[in-house]
């Protein structure tokens, strides 16, 4: 039970809003100590895993390019395009992106998206602009809400699209795990069962996005009267 101390530290540290880096480092060391590892192996394991997972951070490489494009007016251009499309709303822009992201991820095009590459420079500004075109200048809280939904849509589309693709990590992990336990299956036999959930995601989140539109409409048409 003592090995769960790291989990407790993370929960408390995150709840108290202490610097997350410090919380995670302390939780790691505490878990190692509770698990009976000696200090040198704790630090070594930390270093080894940190190096091995450098790939997660490669997405930051895109930031100098994205920053440069933002400087040249990428966001403004994206907003301009959206403002000319009649009938565009924040919810509809995000719903279209959700559909595209789910579809492309399901055929293995997981690279066509991402928080740094797509959401920050294009999707979030477009959704914001769609609401702005309708309701004029938005209060900050509304901007943040729309942006949070833009990030959520990218995650949902990627998570619940990629599972349908045969060569994806998750399908291969399931296949590999079952194989080790004497159950041999083709990737397709596993991947098809991700389809019902993928459809449910689109329906549930689609309804939520339409509700977001209604919420915005109510909030701002109420203001005008």
């Amino acid at each position: 039970m003592l090995t769960l101390i790291g989990v407790l530290i993370v929960v408390i540290g995150f709840a108290l809003r202490i610097n997350p880096l410090l919380v995670v480092a302390v939780a790691g060391i505490a878990t190692g100590v509770a698990g009976g590892l000696d200090p040198v192996s704790i630090v070594s394991e930390f270093g080894r895993a940190f190096t091995e997972n450098r790939y997660i951070s490669l997405v930051w490489l895109t930031l100098p390019v994205i920053g440069l494009l933002e400087r040249a007016g990428l966001k403004e251009r994206a907003q301009h395009l959206i403002s000319r499309i009649h009938g565009a709303t924040a919810g509809r822009v995000l719903l279209l992106y959700l559909a595209l992201r789910q579809f492309t991820a399901s055929i293995g095009l997981n690279a066509l998206g991402g928080q740094a590459q797509m959401v920050r420079p294009l999707i979030a500004p477009m959704a914001e602009a769609a609401a702005e075109t309708r309701y004029g200048d938005l209060p900050d809280a509304t901007r943040y809400l729309i942006r949070a939904h833009a990030a959520g849509v990218d995650n949902l589309g990627a998570f619940f699209g990629e599972d349908i693709f045969l060569a994806m990590g998750s399908v291969l992990l399931i296949k590999g795990f079952l194989e080790q336990n004497g159950i041999v299956l083709q990737p397709l036999a596993i991947a098809v069962w991700a389809i019902p959930t993928a459809l449910a995601v689109f329906v549930i989140h689609g309804i939520r996005l339409m509700l977001l539109d209604r919420h915005l409409k109510k909030q701002f048409s109420g203001d005008q009267t």
Binding site: F50, L68, G73, D163
Partner: protein, 318 residues
């Protein structure tokens, strides 16, 4: 042969550049701490392959200590005004989208082709590394396109890179640190303890109850670990296989697939999945670190319920 290590070195150079720019800016507060934070981060990328794990571990701890109890203060990095950006957007028009779209397009085409190109019988890029190498390549292509097509200045890309990276802040290393925490959890046997607790509380003979325990267990364990892939082997070995598949005769493909997706519901709801939830909040400059999670929680919970019913209705019928 293009190695993934080259891309890491490129990233290391970018982080070191941020470190130097942070230090050179005299109006910047805490500039020495920032120099060390970004500099050490860069070094772990540049020399990750050759440094002993213990040394990297020590460096990472020093880097974390540089951020202190309250995290580093935000750097104020100036950029062009909104009016200037509008004028520029009008002048450049839709050409602006070309470099932005080149990033996903080159990553995608590279992923499909680069591991099939052979020089003297050796693949140009190892197939296990092809996506990440293509991502690195796509950034270079997009940068060249931005510099030539849009006539931007190279020095501005460094400046803007610093602006964006420091606006995300020290959260940039959080996903990697959490992965390291996951490794320590695994080394200390946290998974077994959690599976033991879940096993202790479930009604073994009641099919629907076991389905709930497995799906909710996947989600909860993912919330703790931040990663459904870490939860899957533990929960499936503990509940999915012995109880759902062997005892109750469930279809292993359905149990496995929907079990994994139940874990993904957990991913939507946890700050431990920092690269999906916390990093975007920083990227989009949300004041609430949990803003993205809050937007996802209702979908996450509803979806978990749907998954429970899907598994119960499908796994014992097909």
């Amino acid at each position: 042969m293009i190695h993934l290590e080259f891309v890491y070195i490129l990233a290391g150079l970018v982080f070191c550049t941020v470190a130097i720019l942070e230090w050179l800016d005299r109006s910047n507060s805490q500039r020495y701490r920032k120099l060390l934070f970004w500099g050490i981060y860069g070094i772990t990328f540049l020399f990750g392959a050759v440094l002993p794990s213990f040394v990297t571990g020590c460096l990472v701890i020093v880097m974390v200590l540089m951020t202190g109890m309250k995290d580093l203060k935000r750097s104020e990095v100036s950029s062009v005004s909104e009016a200037q950006r509008r004028t520029s957007a009008q002048r450049l028009g839709n050409k602006l989208f070309i470099p932005a779209l080149l990033i996903p397009l080159v990553t995608f085409t590279g992923t499909l082709t680069l591991d099939r190109v052979r020089l003297h019988g050796i693949p140009l890029v190892a197939s296990s590394e092809v996506t990440l190498v293509s991502l690195g390549l796509s950034v270079i292509v997009a940068l060249v396109a931005a510099l030539t097509l849009l006539q931007q200045r190279p020095v501005d890309s460094l400046h803007e890179g610093r602006r964006l990276m420091t606006s995300v802040g020290t959260v940039v290393v959080l996903p990697q640190l959490l992965a390291a925490l996951g490794a320590l959890f695994a080394a200390a046997g946290v998974g077994g303890v959690v599976a033991g607790i879940v096993n202790h509380v479930i009604p073994v003979n009641f099919t629907f109850g076991v389905v709930i325990a497995y799906a909710v267990g996947m989600a909860l364990f993912t919330i703790i670990m931040g990663n459904a892939f870490a939860a899957f082997p533990v929960m499936t070995a503990g509940i999915g296989l012995p109880l759902l598949v062997h005892l109750h005769g469930g279809n292993p493909a359905i149990v496995g697939a929907i079990g994994m997706l139940s874990g993904y519901c957990g991913t939507l709801m946890t700050p431990m999945a920092a690269n999906f939830n916390i990093v975007p909040a920083a990227l989009l400059e949300l004041p609430d670190r949990n803003g993205v999670i809050k937007a996802q929680i209702p979908t996450g919970i509803l979806l978990l319920i749907v998954n429970i019913f899907l598994m119960y209705l499908l796994a014992f019928r097909f």
